[in-house]
Symmetry: C2
């Protein structure tokens, strides 16, 4: 958290646009690494920056040749979305013809898709080779409310299916960033892979043995590594992502 | 040009931050493709967006493990630089400890480095395995004035050396984007490689036979390809760059 804030602060000089672009690209690269033969993907996006990383990831997956759907059940859509970056990210996906699909579960009466985007009744189980969980990130706490409860239940059902890889962005949705799965709360149960962003997240200790853990985001400076006692691995070639285990 | 404008306009939804980040990353990827064993690089940046692509490229080359210097002789520095994106790009390089080196040639009395950045007398010939030409891009026309005349002469001397690859961003500096080298004007003479951005540039016909020509920038939509009669190649895997010849 502190590292991201310093990168984007006056002493770091990065814009959110830049960091989100590199983070989302690294997640997309991890997805094709985890599931190199995947042809279809669903990216499930939450209301905050974790969801923004998902929107960027979805766009790169389209350019990588996958058939991509997005589920982004936020009321802050189109005209009502005050963040120009997020309006832009949705526009970019819409221009690529990406369908926005309806969130499953009760309690969500919002629109299916941002204005002007193709809508789809979607979310059939078994339809996707990969599902990307970009619902909640490192700052999540408290209760899981609609429509996100239905989404997490749906992702857990998907995670139990053969042949569908559930790839989590930064922190599996509903997990505590340090402690891992929260026993008394709804959260993602069986990630097939985790992509930590900026720095490895301690909650990765809660992954099942052998679950791939990646680090994405190749923009941390040596002075930040030193100031925060980070231990970062090396990356190969021009890759934006590296596997940690 | 028109394609970039549409991508960044209201119908495209991209910010310059995003497109420059992806363009500069693709150039850095092309550099390590052209010169995989390079350890030292100088990135020479002009005053406009071509120079901004160079600043992004320089940062990624640092993360790729190269020892990188930057020459960026623009008076629009630090406090006097009105563009937050460019102030940020310089700050990011400064935070990585990248030295800014003095422009060669007469006629330039400006500062060596943006305020707060390490300055170096630099630009020794023979010191760099790669030199990246990010001085002028597709919109260049007219005369080459100081300090850019000295920079182009210096790059031409470098381009004649063995063991130094001169990689040009989008359009070799001083070339016409369509017609290639301008016979009556100072321009870059012997690019070792060209990285076209967004779409292949016609001036690539003016390259010496066998000179690698890359395309970088993986963000053009099928509808723009259709609207502008573009013929774009495919990219491999998660790569942001593809070789055209």
């Amino acid at each position: 958290v502190a590292v991201d804030e310093e990168l984007m602060g006056p002493s770091g000089g990065f814009s959110l646009d830049q960091l989100m672009e590199l983070a989302g690209l690294s997640v997309a690269e991890a997805v094709v690494n985890v599931a190199p033969s995947a042809q279809t993907a669903l990216v499930v996006c939450g209301p905050g920056n974790n969801g923004g990383d998902g929107l960027v990831c979805a766009r790169h997956l389209v350019h990588f040749g996958l058939d991509v759907h997005v589920c982004y059940p936020t009321p802050r859509w189109a005209d009502r979305e005050p963040r120009p970056l997020f309006r832009g990210l949705v526009k970019q996906l819409s221009n690529l013809g990406v369908p926005f699909v309806r969130a499953p579960g009760k309690g969500w009466q919002g629109p299916v898709a941002p204005e002007g985007c193709g809508a789809d009744e979607g979310l059939p189980r078994g339809a996707y080779d990969v599902v990307v969980d970009a619902v909640f990130g490192f700052s999540f706490g408290g209760d899981v409310r609609a429509p996100y409860d239905g989404l997490i239940e749906w992702m857990n059902a998907v995670g139990d299916e053969r042949g569908c890889a559930l790839v989590c962005v930064d922190v599996p949705s509903g997990w505590d960033v340090e402690e891992g799965p929260r026993p008394d709360s709804l959260c993602v149960r069986r990630p097939a892979a985790l992509v930590s962003l900026t720095a490895p997240k301690k909650c990765a200790l809660g992954l099942a043995p052998g679950t791939p853990h990646y680090l994405g985001g190749r923009f941390v400076t040596p002075s930040l590594v030193q100031a925060h006692d980070l231990v970062l691995p090396s990356f190969e070639g021009a890759s934006q992502v590296t596997r940690l285990n």
